[in-house]
Symmetry: C2
Subunit: 362 residues, 2 copies
């Protein structure tokens, strides 16, 4: 297969930053994933990124990811062995060689964790993912909309426990894997959604890892050239600036393992005199300007430090930060009826319909 | 293998009653297990009970059981298919034919659930179990003391979900299986602790199913002959009467999925003027007479209706019931240091050492 790009350890810096931007406030701290991926590449060699079109229709593709809160793993940094174990155990269960590794989620920590498996196995990594962003639940991937079962799934922890799931729906996979992850201490590593090359070509959101790398590079260059980092990122993403202001209040509570809440902002400069409200459940899901909803999931809302352009997570929001909120369009697969059912505002419990910021839904 | 006894559908009545007595207040309502077992026997034919000594050393033995609260399954009574699925899935995973079925727990619902698998597969069922009673957690079996791993374990629910566990300890099996069972709606069916005939001969508590049948028969005959049912049961068990009195108070709370609490009694007849206190965590675990601890886990404490001899569970305890508390000796394996560590009063959080009611520990 033709290598689109070869990824070395130092390239992970940009990818992790880009992953944090696509993480839209959630998706987990990319720092842990980046360290794991860098260790793996230094040990085993670089990773070959390929296009999903390169796959044979009968190729076997397996996404891998970290579930839960990666922060709990920082005390005992995983070497990535658990992720490789999960991958190899699934391969054995499927009874045939896996041909390529895939990202489930390109936002947050899971923009980098699949590099661990690709490096260790020497398999190519597909430049794409199942979201084009981050979402908090396992079934929230384009794969679900293409009828791919999340199971058989292998889930491993850092103690040596593992479980193999077979479920009647991807929602059940989420429920059972979530319960196991919580019991395992809040974090687990998994291989799931085995699919053919044919299905991957239909389902995969293209080019998200390249986009992550480009976003990281854009930010780095804008800083080096004393440019405007936020504007540079916005241009790369074809994003609009929803707001520019200071955090005045953060109402945050933990519900069912998720960080839910609302942040309120007061405008500065071009937004002086305006207010802004951002609802989050791990990820930023809904934005309101002066009390009117202007943008919702599945479109992407990300927060950047107004000066440095550094992406800011929902976890780290606090009084006084001066931030810019950018909105950019989701992958069109999410704008379908099936997509809205999986990840629209109503699924998250908001009494609001999807507001397509970037033009009407088909 | 030589059949010790052939068990027909009607025999399950006695076994279920005996199972409730050995259930020592917990172990789950035997009613559901009995119905499942009777259905299976009527459909597939009777079950052949064998002695564990009949097994070849290299035979493969697998215990099966229901985990959680069987009451939640009464709305949609399982046909037992899930239990057979778990058993067959484990057999496939182990890559060889299983030679005999075993009870994990002879107290409560799981005195009868293994009959479902034995009937459906035509395999013999061993007359024995891993407790000689009921206990609330998966690792609390004699098998653990003989180094048998609870995994690979297969756990199935009534919706069609299943999981295969591989854990680093039987305590971890309990934690992960418990989390999955709770998420599955509170009840699951499992096959676990695969072991050789050689190990089974060391670990199995002998004759518990025969004892269950005998207890049920004893109770039935005493009633038919207008005898004293409680005395008849006590004689069969070589039990002593700890107390005879009325329930004056029940303090019950649900902690981590377990029904914990204390029941207090005031004496009647021969115990007039005395008080009695029973601590339970699903099962009755500690008894105090006039404020002094007289009997604790692992010895067995069971409550019977003073008139009819019907066993009474911790769940159904309420003000005014006139009951007799019997104590009878546990299997000697539980009296070892390893046994006390697994199921002694301190494991359950009581600040008390094991009080051997029936003579000193070796």
């Amino acid at each position: 297969m033709k290598t689109l790009k070869t990824i070395y350890a130092e390239d992970l810096e940009d990818i992790a930053i880009g992953g944090a931007i696509l993480g839209t406030g959630g998706g987990g701290d990319p720092y842990v994933g980046k360290l794991m991926a860098q260790q793996a590449i230094l040990k085993h060699g670089p990773v070959h990124l390929i296009s999903v079109e390169e796959l044979a229709d009968d190729a076997l593709v397996v996404p891998v990811c970290m579930m839960g809160a990666p922060t709990v793993m920082t005390e005992k940094l995983p070497q990535g062995d658990e992720l490789i174990n999960a991958f190899r155990q699934l391969e054995q269960l499927l009874g045939r060689k896996i041909d390529a590794v895939l990202c489930g989620e390109a936002g947050g920590v899971n923009s980098t964790t699949p590099f661990v498996v690709a490096a260790a196995t020497g398999l190519p990594l597909i430049d794409g993912d199942g979201m084009g962003r981050a979402y908090p639940e396992l079934q929230m991937v384009t794969f679900t909309m293409h009828g791919v079962s999340a199971t058989p799934m292998v889930l491993c922890d850092d103690k040596g426990n593992s479980l193999v799931l077979e479920t009647v729906s991807n929602q059940w996979t989420e429920r059972l894997a979530r319960a196991a992850t919580v019991e395992m201490g809040g974090s687990a590593l998994l291989a799931f959604y085995p699919m053919s090359g044919e299905v991957a070509k239909k389902a995969v959101v293209r080019g998200t890892l390249s986009l992550c790398a480009k976003l990281g590079l854009t930010l780095r260059e804008a800083r080096a050239n004393h440019g405007n980092p936020v504007d540079a990122v916005a241009e790369t993403l074809k994003a609009v600036t929803l707001f520019h202001g200071r955090v005045t209040d953060v109402d945050r509570r933990t519900v069912g393992g998720f960080a839910r809440g609302t942040a309120t902002f007061t405008g500065v400069e071009e937004f002086k005199g305006h207010s802004f409200k951002l609802d989050f459940q791990n990820e930023f899901l809904m934005a309101a300007l002066d009390g009117k909803i202007v943008c919702t999931t599945p479109d992407l809302i990300t927060l950047l430090d107004a000066e440095s352009g550094t992406p800011v997570t929902a976890d780290s929001l606090h009084y006084g930060l001066r931030l810019k909120a950018l909105a950019f369009p989701c992958n069109p697969q999410w704008q379908t009826q099936a997509g809205i059912a999986l990840v629209g505002p109503r699924y998250f419990g908001y009494d609001a319909d999807y507001v397509p910021y970037f033009g009407a839904v088909d």
